[in-house]
Symmetry: C2
Subunit: 467 residues, 2 copies
């Protein structure tokens, strides 16, 4: 039998109540902000057909997708000679389903399957787990939540502007103050590649300069040389590396550098129009002047996928990667036979945000507790008396419980302490006689007698419970 | 390449926004009620080790568990002779992870892994998807949500009473009025088996009489005969079948029938004590007198697992199975080497509840819409003017969006209609000049001019948006 000490699969986690409350705070904040911007919830199953996912994330992605073994006798049609064909071919013989790898391919599949029913532009958000067979390491898991928002079916730059505002709003609502929403445009990157005479090597250029934050300019230049960029091309990069100042100064410096590239100039125009729209949105409440928006021509986000705006969020003074990224794409559903569907979207990483709020001590007080009051249990008489008051406390909207057995008071108080329950009600014969309740504040240790309604008001006033 | 028209795996579903809003209403109601009763959230991963799950649900369960193919070259150590050993043995060679099948075994695993850290009694709830390779049919899916609540580590009957109250509270909060919370006790069933001289056949007795609602008394008797129950035993069942009346009358009729069975008598005592506690909880607000609580000696819920109270919820006048079930167990964690952990809990089926509310038309108005107001887009001037007011509308806590392109007004209004957006703002040159806003009520078709603050107040007052 299975009498082993149980364990969890590598790279997966349980979320105990004290962690769940904090995760729920983040999810709730994101959800409310997304809905405030008119995005609607979508959920897709964990299981997708294997052929929906395979080939969408490159060879490495194909390898990291978790495949589900077919139910029943999956060996029925397997012959010994099939073994020799290798595991990749075998996968298709014994598996037809897989766990979703991100929320974008399922969105594309949903859009194609429901194109007749969806009202476009389709503004949807999706907060769900995804699975990747990566080697687990600090901050990287095999099962983790993504929080995506996309507008599908329009190329209006209003959507870019709204996404910038919405990202900013989420971060503000989470209590963050020191961060940059970085933007760039894939067309600007194409323009740079063109201008330095390497239009065919745009992808390599992006991959290399994307690392400048981590490895510095010199190493990026070395990598470009290694990737076959001639010395003149690298020399021509210098004016681009030298761009500096605020977002408008950078744009002014970039314009003449890209004047001979049509696509580069288009990228700058898109960026300027987006900023113009952000200004119209914000008016006096000027988001841009708060220095939260930054233009970074080295922002590339590897993926070939993006065709216009690119976004990323960096929290200052923390050794943690970006907590959000996204951009404009022109071909969401091409792989499923529906061409020319344009959209723009981004994704928050729940774990990264969690780590940031934890390190900066930004979780609000109400995420440190859930149950607001515990009734103690002296003996059967007091217990039976307490039950109806417990129920009335709950009806008053207060999260409440009773210790289910009349064990020693110290044990009951330890329980309340360990669960961070801020108040404890003590009911003895005196309290029953006077119809009063002794309320103990578990943080400061004081004890006060109240009539019932007073007690309810006191608990409500003094427990920061908003969940 | 994959240019196939995409599909979903059998038995899985997408939840489009209009469905998600309703599902979220159910989940939110359950969550709030559970937390009001002092239950705290737990989440466990979708992935569990294969050996955590296998052997816990019987042979049929083992077959229905979805197994994950190992990452990388899973054929590395497979020899042709392994094929001949059959797929069951092969499963263990090429798979070490699986998708969780319910929320109870993961709870048991969590309790064992964290026994040193958990504060007992452990009151946790868990609302997550589970996966089963059953044949999909109406109302049965391969990926579906369970909503569990359990108290682990105490045998206090207060927990049984609280669970009865909590189930009732959830149903009330969902707007249900015609339902029964049915209770029974496994010890009473054991007592019946003993009394009719078939103590060894308790499981068979439970399996058969559990179906009486569906197939009727005669067929149950036929099944008992088939299962080897002698005619005298079946004859001795008659007084049990004849029990009727309200919950207290039934108990009084049952008592003499079980007087020679120690375990049966213990079951009755537990039931009576639980009812006594429910009464203490409710006082004047008498839950029992509302006829929502019913004692049903044919309620058995198949599982051998339960050792005390058994619960089930039946909605009247609907051809739909039970929407909730649960009970007391004495050996949650035995399979993981930790004996004698007692607990009591139950589970709501999200899909069943959804179907019930849909059929009874009980979803509240605010679940029919999410975005509260849409700003139309006449031309670039009006659009840029509108953006700052849109942002102010959002800051006022209203869910709002703008149509992102200045297309024909009819198309914009169709979009709002299809998305059930109740209000639309029209801004033309007249409105801009007067700093007024024309608000169109999409349901009744009227249009009114407002100053901004008036408009905000009007939308808040007239859109039932609580989410």
């Amino acid at each position: 039998m299975n009498m082993q000490k149980p364990t969890l699969p590598k790279g997966t986690r349980d979320f105990a109540p004290e962690v769940m409350v904090k995760r729920n705070f983040i999810i709730q904040t994101i959800k409310q902000t997304f809905e405030n911007f008119g995005f609607l919830p979508l959920e897709t199953p964990a299981l997708e057909n294997l052929n929906t996912l395979m080939g969408k994330y490159g060879e490495e992605g194909d390898r990291l997708i978790f495949k589900i073994l077919n139910s029943g006798d999956f060996l029925k049609d397997i012959q010994p000679e099939h073994l020799a064909e290798g595991y990749k071919k075998m996968t298709w013989r014994i598996s037809e389903k897989a766990l979703k790898y991100d929320l974008t391919v399922p969105l594309a599949r949903f859009v194609v399957m429901n194109q007749g029913k969806i009202t476009f532009p389709f503004r949807r958000y999706q907060i769900q787990p995804v699975w990747r067979g990566d080697s687990p390491q600090a901050g990287r898991y095999r099962e983790f939540y993504q929080c995506d928002a996309d507008v599908v079916g329009t190329d209006s730059l209003i959507c870019e502007a709204e996404i910038i505002l919405m990202i900013n709003e989420v971060l503000q609502n989470l209590g963050l103050t020191e961060y940059s929403v970085k933007i760039n445009n894939r067309k600007i990157l194409a323009g740079i590649a063109q201008t330095i005479g390497m239009p065919q090597a745009e992808t390599e250029l992006c991959t290399a300069i994307d690392k400048i934050d981590k490895i510095g300019k010199q190493k990026v230049e070395a990598e470009l040389a290694e990737r076959g960029f001639p010395a003149e091309a690298i020399a021509q990069m210098q004016p681009f590396f030298a761009i500096q100042g605020d977002i408008f100064e950078k744009i002014q410096q970039l314009k003449p550098l890209l004047q001979n590239s049509e696509i580069g100039t288009k990228g700058i125009t898109e960026l300027e129009q987006t900023l113009e729209l952000v200004k119209h949105f914000c008016q006096s409440d000027n988001f841009i002047s708060q220095n939260h928006l930054d233009f970074d021509i080295t922002l590339a986000r590897g993926l070939n996928y993006y065709t216009g705006a690119i976004f990323e969020v960096k929290v200052h003074n923390l050794a943690i990667g970006s907590i959000s990224g996204g951009g404009r794409y022109d071909n969401l559903t091409g792989a499923f036979g529906l061409p020319n569907v344009s959209g723009v979207g981004f994704s928050f990483g729940l774990d990264r945000i969690f780590d940031v709020l934890e390190k900066l001590n930004l979780f609000p007080a109400h995420t440190h507790t859930t149950t607001q009051v515990m009734f103690t249990n002296f003996d059967q008489t007091a217990q039976n008396y307490a039950l109806s008051w417990l129920q009335k406390t709950r009806k008053a909207g207060i999260k409440a419980e009773i210790y289910p057995q009349p064990v020693k008071l110290k044990k009951q108080l330890d329980y309340a302490n360990q669960k961070n329950i801020p108040f404890v009600v003590l009911i003895g014969s005196e309290e029953m006689e006077k119809q009063m309740f002794s309320l103990k504040d578990m943080q400061i240790g004081t004890q006060q007698q109240f009539h019932f309604e007073e007690m309810i008001a006191y608990i409500k006033k003094n427990s920061n419970n908003l969940v």
